[in-house]
Structure formats: C-alpha cells, structure tokens
Amino acid sequence: MRQAGYITFIALTLQNALAFLLAWACDREIKLKNFYRLIFFIPPVLSEVVVGLVWQWILDGHYGLLNSWLINLGFPQLVRNWLSDPATALNTIAIVHSWKGFGWGFLIFLAGLQIIPRELYEAARVDGANAWSCFKRVTVPLMIPVAVLVAILTILGSMQAFVLIIAMTDGGPAYHTQVPVLRILAAMRGSSRFGYACAQGISFGLILVVISFIQYRFSRRTRDIT
C-alpha cells in the first residue's frame, strides 16, 4: 500500500506538473501543435506490458542503454542496477509510470485550457495585467476543477497500476515495489487462498469506488469540456 501511495504521489506531482506545463505550452498559437499532441499520446496507447518490457531493457543493469550512456558521458559513479537496487527500484517504476501516463493529463488539461474564452485574457490585458498576473488570475482559477479531475483520475490509475510492475520487477527486489493488486494476485495464484484474496480485493475495490464517486460528483461540473 505504501509503495502504491508513493507511486501515486510521484504521478500526482511530477506527471501532472509536466502534463500541465506541456498543455500550457501547446495552448498558444504555435506551429506543430497537432504534431506534439499526436506524439504525447503515444505512450498511453501502448500496453503496459510493452512499455514495461522495453524500459526494463533500457534500464538493464549490465547491458542497458541508460548505463552505457552514463559511462560514455563520464558519470560511471551513477551506474547502477536501476530495477534490482532497492534504493532506486521504486523511483524508477514511478518515473516510468509517469512517462506512460502524462499524455492523459495533457489531453484533459489542453481541452480545459482551450475552452477558456479568449476575451477574458483580452479584458485582463486591457485592464493592465501582465503575462504573469493573466496566468495567476485567469488561467489558474478557471483550471482548478480540471486539475481536481485530473488529480482524481491519476489517483485511480496509479493505485491500480500493476501490470507495469509485473513486467519490470514483479514486486521485487524483496517486496520493495509490491503494490496491493500484486498482493491479491499472489494470494490467489500463489497460495490459492481465495477467500483471503477476495476480501483483499473487495476492501481495495471499495476504496477505489469511493474515489470514483468523488470523481463522478466533480465530472458533472466539468462535463462541458468535451
């Protein structure tokens, strides 16, 4: 549970900050906007198995690309076994998870930014606001409901993330990347304790249902985005 919470925390901060920055950068009149949007949504459409196995290969301790780059760039002291070192395994997984997920947040943020009426910015300009106070007084207040929505979706998605973990570390090293769903699976397949696994599943499911219910209440307010 703590590990899932940690992954969720990283996803909430890092992934959503990145998603928002990208959406904000894409919201202005720049060239190649559609191209960027196309690219940023590639990781989310790939399956977790594919993403997990490719990253596992890149991060491999002995032959991985990342380590060989680190050596070539002159940082041999940074070389490590990213996924089987207890100190880095969880962080690495959280980052790969964010890499896979930020496209969602980006899309929703961008949709939210684009329905802010341009007149509001113009009015603020006429009243003498500079770029920063435009952002602070117009963009941020209008984006708060969207941000809450993205945050809840991120929590839901990250708490359930486990296929990626199966593909990359399978809960190891020594349970350092264990998450609730993996525990349920282990109780079911490993020791065939179905009653126990079912109880775990239901209590975990209840938590998620509560979160989605909050999301349902919020999405009523933000439904005009799409």
Binding site: L18, L21, Y36, F40, F41, I42, S47, V50, W104, Y216
Partner: protein
C-alpha cells in the same frame, strides 16, 4: 521602433524555448520505441555491444523467428480473433441496449441503466478473484468464449453510455417517419439508428479494440493454455522463458506494438475522443 524590435526578439526567444521543451519531451516519447525496433534488428551477439540506434547490419530474421518459433504468429491471430469478437459483441449488445434505454419506456429502466453505470465504477482489481471462481464453476476458464464474454462485459458500460447520449440527441421525427412507413422497432434500430450513429460507433469500436488488444489482467487469470493466449500474455510468458534473448523479445514487442501505433496514427481523432469522454463520463 526600438520597442517593437525588442518585443519581437523576446517573442522569438520565448517561442524557441517552448519548442525546445516540447521537442525534448516528444523525443523521450518516441525514443524507447525506436530503441525497441533497433534492438529487434540486432543479433544475440551484437545487441549487448552495439549501442548505436541504427545497427550496421539489419537482421530481419528475428521477426521470422519470433513469428514461427516464438509462436507469435499464433498469438497474433489469437489477439486479432479476440479483438474482433469482442468488438462485434459490444456493438450488437451496446447499440441495442443503448437504443432501448433511450427510446423504450419500460418499468425499471432507470434502475437498470443506473446499475450499468455503477458497474463501470467497480474496478477490475476489486472483482477479478470472484470472476476467477465464477468462471471456474461455469467451466469457462481457459476457453476463448469465457475471455470474450468477460471482455465484452468490461467495455459494455462505457459503450452503452456513449451510444445512449448520442441516441438521446437524435431527432425523433426520422423514426416517426419510418414507423409511419411501416418499419418495426427492430427495423428502426437496424436501418435508422445504427447507420446514423456511425461517428459514435467509430469511437466505440476503436476504443474497445485498443482496450482488448492491450488487456493483460484477465488474460492472466483466464488462460493457462499456451495456444489460446493473446499477445500481451504471451509476451510475459516469453520473457520468463527466454530471459536474455533480447532481440527476439524486442521483435515480439514490435509485433505487438506496431498494429496499435498504426491504428492510433490513422484513427487519432476517435481515440482521443474516446479517451477524453471515457475519462469524463457522467
């Protein structure tokens, strides 16, 4: 004049910085994929030494090996078969159900619809143990039919929701006209409602197809028989057995990922639409 020039320079600098930032992130999105393809074209000897993105010799035989010896041809066909069956099943059931929810008046209609929507909230991790036991009792575990039924069920709620919102907006005059011309309820559904809902159907089809193709959890629970496995499950098995044969594994990954990327590039509009409306249902 000087002020105008100053603003112009400032704008160019800001734009360049923004583009740099965007391009860096975009590169990080594409790079792992190109590395996957590049690794799949090396041999078992060169893959550990050659760190260049474009290998000197291209070894396409990895794909033939993976397709034949690795069994990916079989898994690929399995995946295609499951995806097609599930999508067809969802279209039939969801469009009929959505049409009924939108047009027919019958007792318990709202309750039933609410139950469908509530089912969408129950996450898979909360239910797969019960599902496993149920399928075992019904002798549907380890059968393609059981898997297809489960996957239809997974995609149903959202598809019904999307289609119902669309049908609700559809003008009733068309159907009235058809009824006057002597069309049955079923005929109206088949000849008027379905053809008109093509744009939403496209979203439903593409979104569900992606979902089934990428599905792993249920495939893990349901299948023990290697010959029935879809690609995602087979990849994990393969990785367990041939731990270090990276070129072959990467070829398998490419075989799995490429159809998705191609579909995505062509159907981007529908996928994005399905993704956002799936996230914002309600």
């Amino acid at each position: 004049m000087k002020a105008a020039g100053y603003y112009k320079v400032k704008r160019i600098i800001i734009n360049t910085l923004i583009h740099l930032f965007l391009i860096t992130i975009a590169l990080s999105c594409i790079f792992p994929l190109s590395w996957m393809i590049s690794s799949s074209l090396k041999t078992q000897e060169t893959v550990f030494k050659d760190m260049s993105l474009v290998p000197k010799e291209l070894h396409f035989e990895n794909y033939i090996l993976a397709w034949k010896e690795g069994g990916f041809g079989r898994y690929f066909l399995n995946s295609i078969f499951y995806t097609l069956s599930v999508v067809i099943g969802i279209i039939i059931v969801a469009s009929m159900a959505a049409y009924a929810f939108s047009r027919l008046r019958f007792p318990g209609r709202n309750l039933l619809f609410f139950m469908f929507m509530a089912a969408m909230m129950i996450p898979i991790p909360g239910s797969f143990v019960a599902l496993y036991v149920l399928l075992n009792k019904l002798h549907l575990r380890n059968t393609p039919f059981g898997y297809i039924l489960c996957m239809i069920n997974v995609g149903l709620s959202m598809s019904i929701f999307l289609l119902k919102t669309f049908f609700d907006k559809l003008p009733r005059e068309l159907e009235d006209a058809a009824r006057i011309d002597g069309c049955s309820k079923f005929g109206i559904w088949w000849q008027i409602a379905l053809p008109l809902s093509r744009p939403v159907l496209a979203v439903v089809v593409v979104f569900n197809a992606l979902n089934v193709w990428n599905e792993y959890v249920l495939a893990l629970i349901i299948f023990d028989n290697k010959n029935l496995m879809p690609l995602q499950r087979a990849l994990m098995m393969f990785q367990g057995e041939f731990m270090t044969n990276y070129p072959l594994l990467m070829a398998g990954l490419t075989i799995t990922a490429l159809p998705i990327i191609i579909v995505y590039l062509f159907m981007q509009k529908y996928i994005v639409k399905g993704a956002t409306s799936g996230a914002l249902f309600g």
